[in-house]
Symmetry: C2
Subunit: 407 residues, 2 copies
């Protein structure tokens, strides 16, 4: 799109004149007033005026079920805001977010706006390149517990995860700078464990270390971690703002993939009436801001997101129409090996299978937990039913006994 | 409170065992696992373990109306997180925000956590000191329209607002760095208009200029504005993160009051089931992060917040139990002079009456709009009914003719 950034809102109201509402948004969030302007001023101001693209009304009459609402599409002139996500969001959903039952359900940024963002530095293909794995689904593992553990304890947990053949290990998002496992020491001992495990497995892995602290120190902390050997970063994007991620992604010294954690996302996306829809919040904006991998709630576990919304997040991360690199989808929570065929059916091969309890809770231990997942991935890629593959793979068999199969 | 930060959640579920849910939160967001730990490890880990303080269940049986829910109170050990708002929020509501229908409805930070925050540099009393107005309600004015206007147009609007006797003028939150009215030039021409108006009114005023741009440049941009003569700042806190405000408030060179704008707040607070309640979002966290003034939707206009929630925001900004300076409450939207008695009854004198349309839309013009508000404030403080006071005050009389009175 050229010259305008588009926002799509779902607006609920039993009585409103939605056409009028749309006009008031388009004017109110741009030039402030329009109909009363003198004609000469209109000519000058027109390039700043928001445009109502469409208003589609639903429900609200005797024959229709459900609440009355409208999907309102507005184009906002690029000329009105700077090329950063805070400016975009404040323009399209700053004041408006407080104006009744209204949810931001989609955005479409202009080529010019997008051109200010390098996007993911590695993206899906780059992450695969770092690991030397061109096409199979990746496997990510989450620490079982981290708070209160010392470096030795963390290293041991890391080693057991790495032995299972996982491709990525992520810090817990609630692990902040602390005296027991300070950032640089943590990176050192975990990367040492990674090297040791590689001696057994022959396999590389990425360790996404959680970057925390004051906002002004985030980039410096990321560089410290990289200096200490970190080959990936984890970042709680919504707690710091998209722009902090965008600045990390622009920084040439941040030369490792960044995984975006969705912490706080549930404060925005689940309400039908308010907030920001998940495909915008965890899809488009994360990708534009430069996340190489994006974690989001899977539709399988206890922390759920409806399947349709989940697929829309995936689509936003992979959409070829957005001309920056794609972001690796990482559906998370409630995942065990028996779900792998379903995950691959939903997501295809371009997915990171992410597990915590499904690895550490394996009856034969953490390493076997990782192995069971790798076996499930292998079986699924070859179209072999998991129960058949499990006949010769005791780790997968034990996982299936514990958690079952859904294929 | 000592050693723990408290979070209060409202959790909706038709069937859940809320006691069990509370335990799983307290363990899951801290040490990760508990009952299965060996006793020796429990002794070591106990200081990291979250504590369920109380679980109060409501509804859900035949005799009770409405949905079934519980208010769950959990204490989180300070030892688990660093002394910054992102760490606090990620701990207490990061993953949990995505775990079903759950809303963060209150927080109570420990003395130790709070001690890392200087709080508002000026606060309510300091803002009064800057203006030399020890006790009356203040009057803030919002530009009518800013986008597409040049420096001359902006200066003229500023001057007319200043002539009306307003105490503060704020930039529009959607005014970003732009070639027509760049930050430093804008400050210069507006402060020149302020000085010129002072020649007429004898009155000082604060101009809260909108600080925007990349996150890493926010502090530098604020200093540029101050260098150019700005005597207050406006900041879209939620678009950048609380920590950016906290860093501004800690910076000794940021020696002017900061007004926090609530842009994006509607993405968080209005749903009963999800998000963060307004008294936390716009009350406690804004004050802890160091906002000297906080704008929030008034209960009077089109952008509304229920009265009870509005009073809770006010209480959070002024609560003497929180041992940092107080923040000036600025209820905004839909305010005209006829509402002033009601505003003062709801908020007392420690309030900033904030108006846009109620000033610029005055039948006798912008300056008269400000004067009508000042007259309404004067009348209310002396207990004189507005209609009586209007007999000798044509500006107030015209405002009442246009918008009526609610007292």
């Amino acid at each position: 799109m050229s010259g305008y950034c588009r926002a799509v809102y779902r607006c609920f109201d039993e009585k409103a004149d939605f056409q009028k509402k749309a006009q008031s948004i388009a004017v109110g969030l741009t030039v402030g007033s329009w109909t009363e302007l003198p004609e000469a001023q209109k000519a000058h101001m027109e390039k700043h005026l928001g445009k109502v693209v469409s208003v589609s009304e639903y429900g609200g009459n005797a024959s229709a079920a459900g609440e009355r609402y409208a999907d309102i599409v507005i184009d906002y002139p690029d000329i009105n805001f700077s090329r950063d996500i805070p400016a975009l969001l404040v323009t399209i959903f700053g004041k408006l977010s407080m104006d009744g039952r209204i949810k931001l359900i989609d955005i479409d940024v202009s080529d010019d706006f997008l051109s200010a963002f390098p996007g993911p530095k590695f993206g899906l293909t780059g992450v695969r390149g770092q690991l030397g794995i061109p096409d199979r689904p990746l496997l990510m593992s989450i620490f079982k517990s981290v708070i209160g553990h010392d470096l030795g304890g963390l290293q041991e947990q890391f080693y057991r995860q790495a032995l299972g053949g996982v491709d990525l290990i992520k810090d817990d998002e609630i692990l902040f700078e602390n005296p027991l496992t300070p950032l640089e020491k943590r990176v050192e001992v975990c990367m040492e464990a990674a090297a040791r495990a590689k001696g057994e497995t022959g396999q590389d892995l990425l360790y996404a270390v959680n970057i925390t602290g004051p906002t002004s120190q985030i980039a410096a902390n990321a560089k410290k971690a990289i200096q200490a050997g970190a080959n990936a970063l984890l970042f709680n994007v919504l707690a710091y703002g998209y722009d902090v991620l965008a600045e990390l992604s622009r920084d040439p010294e941040i030369n490792v993939p960044i995984a975006a954690h969705p912490a706080m996302a549930g404060a925005f996306y689940p309400s039908p009436h308010y907030g920001i829809a998940a495909p915008v919040l965890l899809g488009k904006l994360m990708r534009i801001a430069g996340a190489d991998l994006v974690l989001f709630p899977s539709p399988y576990g206890s922390v759920v997101m409806p399947k349709e919304e989940n697929m829309a997040v995936r689509d936003a991360l992979l959409d070829p129409a957005l001309r920056i690199k794609t972001s690796f989808p990482v559906p998370s929570a409630g995942i065990h090996p028996g779900l792998v065929p379903l995950i691959l059916r939903d997501f295809g091969s371009d997915v990171v299978v992410n597990a915590g309890g499904g690895i550490h809770g394996h009856p034969m231990g953490t390493a076997a937990g990782g192995q069971a997942f790798r076996q499930a991935i292998q079986a699924s890629l070859h179209g072999v039913p998991l129960r058949d593959y499990a006949a010769n793979h005791p780790e997968l068999a034990a996982a299936i006994s514990a958690w079952g199969v859904r294929e």
